[in-house]
Amino acid sequence: MGAVGNSERQRGHELEMEPSDTALWARSRAGDAEAFGLLFERHAKAIYNFCFRRLGDWADAEDMLSLVFLEAWRRRDRQLADDKVLPWLYGIATNVLRNRRRAKRRFAAALRRLPASHPTPGFADQADGRIDDERQMREALDLLTQLPQHEQEVFALCAWMELNYEDAALALGVPIGTVRSRLSRARRRLRELDSRFGHEKGRSAMVKEAHDR
């Protein structure tokens, strides 16, 4: 049996126990950088992909990923409900993306110290795919950015990252009803924009995909 606060994972016949987000966050709040590093490892992919979906650039998304976690550490006095670390990180990411310039200024020194990125064999093979991603994402963002900022944020969290209303509300610091109404408005506006622009080939990857389905 695992200790309280730890979760178990079965791998074949082997039982692995790993600390839950809640346990890691409690340790991070006490100043445990290693615990915070484990949280980073666990949620880097989600935040990295969220940042990409808001920026349309993998390299920028990587920088933002670091900024999000540096900002989260700065705010680690925050008490979080059980299993709400990831939604809260999405909230931090939303704020960091909204105030990119300020975040970059705040952590300028840390950004300068970011280790240089070298192409990794195997992952380099994905380079073409990543370029395609960026092209498609920018087309999607061309459309999305015509919406008000708060609708873009709700849409990105709920539609692209598949957060439920409750978690999106936590991330954005708004009532659940507000999330519902903003998402509904965002979808309606996107449908209107789609009918205006979406039939031009390549105008929006987001819409194009929807037509293909």
């Binding site: 709040r29 980073f40 880097a44 976690f69 070298h118 999607a140 987001m206 929807a210």
Partner: protein, 273 residues
């Protein structure tokens, strides 16, 4: 159906090595922040930086220069079991008693990973995991540094070399530690006189691999730099010696001496201005 929700962009992973590098960077950065709400060291005001430097200087005055001997100074992510076992296999007759359970990862460079732990002699020991020598397959107990050497601002040594090919080419791995306050990176001269810059890992350790040829008389100049790239300390350390056997002047027969970080063959260190 027209739904704008879906985009044809997959969820992508960061390359594992990149994820690890970013994680280490994050841990190194956040360990500079003492309390929630504080800004990172790079954003401290000049007065706070001066106050911090003063407090460090006072602390050093108070405890002498035995920074390396202070327990609790070593930080990093926990080492895997194979490294713990490797440290556990160290031969105490060599003069040190490493603490295997305290082993942590302290630096990396591509496939080279450096682990360190403290020892009961008041200094530290290192194990390097290198592409041609992994602790799980070729444990050797690691190397320990004596207390006097550990107190130097700059410590370095060759921690491994790959097999040479027919032309004498090989990869060397060098590791070390900078204990100069505020040092965040180093510049090191390589045998071919080129230089490399490296970020320091947690607790000031570094490791690097580079292709070279045996055998040189190589004294590496290692310069410790602060976050603004200002030079803090420079040391020249003999890392490779070509010893010509008697009876021949042919350089192909030179014996190469690669001083390690061990107390038995501690590198000579000259702390620069």
């Amino acid at each position: 159906m027209t739904s704008p929700d879906l985009i044809p962009v997959p969820m992508r992973e960061l390359a594992p090595a990149r994820l690890t590098a970013l994680k280490h960077h994050l841990i190194a950065e956040v360990t500079h922040v003492a309390r929630p709400g504080e800004k990172l060291v790079g954003r401290w005001s000049s007065s706070r930086r001066r106050a911090f430097a003063l407090s460090i200087a006072l602390a050093l005055l108070g405890v002498g220069t035995a920074v390396a001997a202070t327990s609790g100074w070593l930080s990093g992510s926990p080492a895997p079991q194979s490294v713990v076992a490797d440290f556990g296999s160290y031969t105490p007759q060599l003069g040190f008693n490493p603490d295997p359970g305290g082993a942590v990862q302290v630096a990396s460079d591509g496939d080279a990973i450096l682990y360190a732990t403290t020892n009961s002699q008041g200094s530290y020991c290192v194990v390097a995991s290198l592409p041609w020598k992994r602790p799980s397959q070729n444990p050797d107990g690691g190397s320990c540094v004596n207390e006097r050497t550990a107190r130097q601002d700059v410590v370095a040594g060759v921690v491994g070399g790959s097999k040479t090919d027919a032309d004498g080419n090989l990869t060397l791995a060098v590791a070390g530690r900078i204990s100069t306050p505020h040092a965040t990176s180093i510049e090191i001269t390589l045998p071919d006189a080129s230089t490399r810059n490296l970020l320091l890992g947690p607790s000031g350790f570094f490791v690097l691999m580079f292709p070279t040829q045996l055998c040189h008389n190589w004294s590496a100049t290692i310069t410790a730099l602060d976050v603004q790239g200002r030079r803090l300390t420079a040391s020249t350390i003999v890392l490779e010696r070509a010893i010509q056997p008697s009876g021949t002047q042919d350089p192909r027969f030179a014996v190469c001496s690669l001083p390690g970080l061990t107390s038995e063959a501690a590198p000579s260190v000259q702390v620069g201005p």
